[in-house]
């Protein structure tokens, strides 16, 4: 049975969106998060795939150098960064669903949690970059260290952009009428989850093995 959740509308502030585990499949031209953000995310995923490929090629060409990087990297740091990113991704997903259910207070709280965890990731990564540079593993130390710093730096730049977009949306939830809530709310969340996916593949290349 096709069921669409009834959503309480608050004075026409939020255009109609649906949220339910039993909602119907979307049309080809109506992806979750909107076409615009899926185009952006698609291009970014292609760019990240090229980065992963380059790192993998460099790894096969310099196994000793990458072994040195892997040995120098603390797996607890990798796991802490992963936990912060996943935790933030979960909180943002909760915020999107709360917004769709018109639970604005819950959405704001979830956004706040997501932003705090995301900022935690940024702070820890900045510390990592500074610590590595002070330990003599800055850019130019070796090809393997360059690969680590540039690949995670590329990801870091995306995280910062995604956080700015999330903060922009979070500050406006419940206060401003979004012209296109699917793009504004779910689209920015989609970009954030793209950062999760990119990190998921960076993690094994440097931290796990």
């Amino acid at each position: 049975m096709i069921h669409v959740t009834a959503i309480a509308r608050r004075s026409c502030q939020i255009p109609r969106m649906t949220s339910s585990s039993a909602r119907p499949l979307r049309a080809l031209d109506d992806p979750p998060g909107g076409v615009l953000f899926w185009l952006i995310v698609g291009l970014e995923l292609v760019a990240f795939a090229i980065v992963f490929g380059l790192v993998a090629v460099m790894r096969s060409g310099d196994p000793a150098g990458f072994h040195e990087v892997h040995a120098a990297l603390d797996p607890r740091l990798g796991l802490a960064l992963t936990a912060l990113l996943f935790g933030s991704g979960w909180a943002v997903a909760e915020a999107v669903h709360a917004f769709r259910e018109d639970a604005i207070v819950r959405a704001r709280r979830a956004y706040a949690l997501g932003l705090v965890l995301g900022l935690g990731f940024v702070a820890l990564k900045v510390w990592d970059f500074v610590h590595k540079a002070r330990s003599g593993f800055g850019l130019g130390a070796s090809d393997a260290w360059d690969a680590y710093l540039l690949a995670t730096g590329f990801h870091f730049a995306h995280v910062v952009v995604a956080l700015v977009m999330l903060a922009w949306v979070a500050l406006r939830v419940g206060r401003t009428r979004f012209e296109d809530p699917e793009t504004s709310v779910a689209g920015t969340a989609l970009f954030w989850h793209m950062c999760d996916v990119a990190w998921i593949f960076l993690f094994p290349l440097f931290f796990a093995a």
């Binding site: 339910s20 585990s21 049309a27 993690f203 093995a209």
Partner: protein
């Protein structure tokens, strides 16, 4: 019941992702870590990026990207 399942789906996803990340480090092998990374990426895609409700073409394209990246990284790195 469906509403409860929808509510618990995302916290369970977080726990699954964290457990898989721990297993990746614990395994210490690239091929296992990449296989687990594929699983994690698919979980994120299905639940957090909501591809479970998207058109099947979108899900197929995303799954293809995950498989190509994981297999390609393993092939190029070893």
């Amino acid at each position: 019941m469906e509403h409860l399942a929808a509510r618990t789906k995302r916290p369970i996803t977080l726990v699954v992702l964290l457990v898989l990340a721990l297993l990746s480090v614990w395994s210490g092998r690239l091929e296992i870590a990449l296989a687990l990374a594929s699983l994690k990426a698919l979980v994120v895609g299905l639940v957090l990026m909501e591809l479970d409700h998207a058109n099947r073409v979108h899900l197929a394209v995303f799954t293809a990207w995950v498989v190509v990246v994981a297999f390609g990284a393993w092939l190029l790195a070893t």
